[in-house]
């Protein structure tokens, strides 16, 4: 992880104001696999709070939460990826994102860090190589030896 931390520091200060969110990704883990979300969509990260179940919703849509007065739907990312459900623990987090005016919370196993991935290190996913369904993955980011799967929020949120 030390490597990535250095990468963050290397951003030129003069670009800081206008470009603080460019090419930066918030990474989180699901079953040991690392994923990234474009940081410009992330609003905040909260710990799991009480979720109100709603009827008629797909199973990954766990319900709604009250975030200081605003009502926000939450999606369990594990279930969205068709993985086993896992009881929430102290590491479980909700990443509140805003995408195209929709505010949604994403329940993830754990949140890692914010990292900078330069444009040239991002490539399209090599479909064949990945074992799990990759329809929610837009790009692959490479940091040294590590690989980050960058989420396609549009598909993640709206694909039926």
């Amino acid at each position: 992880m030390a490597l990535e931390n250095e990468t963050i520091e290397t951003i030129e200060p003069e670009n800081l104001e206008e470009d603080t969110t460019k090419n930066k990704y918030l990474t989180f883990k699901i079953e040991g696999e690392e994923y990234g979300i474009d940081i410009c969509h992330v609003i905040e990260i909260i710990t799991v709070c009480s979720i109100t179940w709603i009827p008629e919703a797909p199973d990954f849509l766990k319900g709604i939460i009250n975030l200081r007065g605003s009502i926000i739907p939450v999606i369990d990312v594990r279930l969205r990826f068709k993985k086993e459900e896992k009881p929430y623990d102290s590491l479980t987090c909700i990443i509140v994102i805003e995408y195209e005016n929709y505010q949604v919370g994403l329940i993830v196993d754990t949140v890692d860090e914010v990292m900078y991935i330069p444009e040239e290190n991002i490539s399209l996913p090599p479909n064949a190589k990945l074992k799990f369904q990759n329809k929610f993955i837009k790009n692959i980011g490479k940091i040294g030896e590590d690989v980050q799967l960058l989420l396609d929020l549009d598909k993640f949120l709206f694909l039926e």
């Binding site: 109100t52 179940w53 709603i54 709604i64 007065g69 009502i71 929709y102 949604v104 949120l157």
Partner: protein
Amino acid sequence: MADFSRESMLDMFIYEMNQLVEQLEQLIIQCEDGYSMDDINEIFRIMHTIKGSAAMMLYDDMSKTAHAIEDLFYYLREENPSDIDYSKLTDIVLEGVDFIKSELARIESGDESVSDPTELISKIKGYLGELKGETGVSAKEEKTSKPAKQEKSAASSNEKKVENEENKEAEPEGSKHFLAKVFFEDGSEMENVRAFTLLQNLKECIQNVKCNIEDLQDENSAEIVKKDGFVFSFSSLKSYDELVDMINDTIYLKSLDLQEGESHKYKALIRFEDGCEMENVRAFTVIHNLEGFASDITHEPTDVIDEGATEIIRENGFKFEFCAFKDYEGVYKILSQTVFLKELELEEITENVEKEDSKETPKADTNKKEEVQEQKQEEPVQAKAVKETEPQKPKASEPQKPKAPAAKKQAPTQHMISVNIGKLDQLLNLMGELVIAEAMTTQNPDLEGLELESFNKSARQLRKIINDVQDTVMSMRMVSLSTTFFKMHRIVRDMCKNLGKDVQLEVVGEETEVDKNIIEHLSDPLMHIIRNSVDHGIEMPEERAKVGKPEKGTVLLEARNSGGDVLIIVKDDGRGLDRNKIMEKAKKNGLLKKPESEYTDREVYQFIFHAGLSTNESVTNYSGRGVGMDVVVNNIETVGGTVTVESEEGEGTTNILKIPLTLAIIEGMLIKMGGAKYTIPISSIQETFKTKKDTIFTDPDGNEMLTLRGEVYNVVRLYDFFGAETEVKNIEDGVFIMLENEGRTVCLFVDELIGEQQVVVKTIPKYIKKIKGISGCTLLGNGDISLIIDVTGFFDK
């Protein structure tokens, strides 16, 4: 643009204009069958105000149009011709109103483009000419216009002398006072000279002439005469009719208003509300309004347009004197309608007494006035008289001008302010937060199990105050439906004209109040429904006569409160819906979801709200394309309402819109089911009860029912309905809640009741698709979310 900034006034202008136009439109529609004198006066007054305000804001087109209509009503008012085609008159006036409306909309949107009212104005004028029976006269007058010009030089030299002489002339015994107001044809040019010629012609038989223009030689006076008319007062021995004849002989005369009676001299002092700004412009408006019926207006400060005048008026009030033929009450009434008026003092100066005492030159008048100022005792007496006559005011058109009665009251202060709706919305949001915060505090888990007598007392007090505040906030947002309803008059009228139908719109309960946010969503649906009723429902007059119905069709528009909802009912006595036709269409469009025979009438009729389903064979101007009714449903559903339609073939159709009184805060019953708490709107709960197992039975399809006091009800188990988990499945462990919606009842089985609570409705995030049986959610005192149950969801499975 104007030489002084009008931007700050623009809002005010548009607001006032819209009010006036609305009032005007209602008035016109009201009296399509015949204009009473009161109506004519009212329309005239409104038009005059529009003209004045528009001119002040330099919107000439609007001002000219208003002017033309004003002329028209001026004629009506003065001549009161009996054989008028009211419907044609209404058409023309409405056209004018439409023009003003579109102008306003343009100004509002900041569109600088211009539309030309010339055609409209000439149409109005043409109609006025028709009324007067003067068609063709203008051509003759064209020829005589040239010699008139030559009179100018002669005229100018004599003019002043004449006036002075006549002023001094002693009044012969038995002479009467008159006030004449003359307008010349547009484009006749040199109006001042014409006015002068008129005076010359009358010279022989009139005395004591006073006119609104001091110097008729002045080039500018032509403009004044053109705009405001030539107003002069005089006394004469001749009779009214003789004078009218004489004046009517004047060439290029467009309209004449001759009034007989004593001219009263008045002295008035007006103070405007503090902080109303631009006192000088307001003063100018007052004077401008006066010009309609008063002459000899003098005011202090003399130059109201001057910036400095603002201060003077603010400090000392605005003083002015004028002569008018109206009596004290009339003048008082008009002046007290001034916008932002704080204080009005009006005195009548008894000039006649002076005349008898000492037949002096007019100069003495001014001296006397100062003395008269002291005799204030007259004023309160007069004022009382106004009050007493108040209740006897003819009811004529009371309901549709809600502002008028308030303005007429003795205390001439403004009781209304206009508030930005955004601020009200914010207030409502804060109110919602307050309600939640209160619940969070008083139901705080930390307090559980504590004996807190004085805390509870204070909490109750707080609760009470919050309730009051909430009621007040809600009532601030309540708007009566009358404006929305009266718009419908116009629609029905226009449609009747175009379709050749005879339909009357009956309006009941228009005073019912609904939240402002909801009203905005009502106008369109109502319009579509009414169009539908008139176009599809009501038959042609001949057809109606054939089936023995009165030729005049009726559409009833009714609003009434029903619990927490408002019902708006549109009922026509037309041919009703054709069930078979709708069924056929529905089948064609693939809307049927079960065997045809299983559809109830109600369900079939509901198809008309589907997009693309129109049973009208031909597309008309108004309907038949199948769009419209689906708009109705969409709009009504956005405000949480429902639409149902009932019909009886040959008897008519009834559309019922059920809309909530307010969107924001509802009384709810908190219930528990599974691990979650749900809120049911109290308004739909009939009763709650527990029952024994043996009252429940199941029909062959597996539908559960229960009997209560001999009646059978459907049972819905909430956990079943939502597919949720709960431990309470035994009928005897849980509670039943009887819910009612539009005459249908169902018994809902839940785990337990928690209690009543006021809840602030929040919408379910749009990311989640619409859930049947859930209408929104709310936050509980502990921050948990409770889903609000939509009762209608239980009825259509």
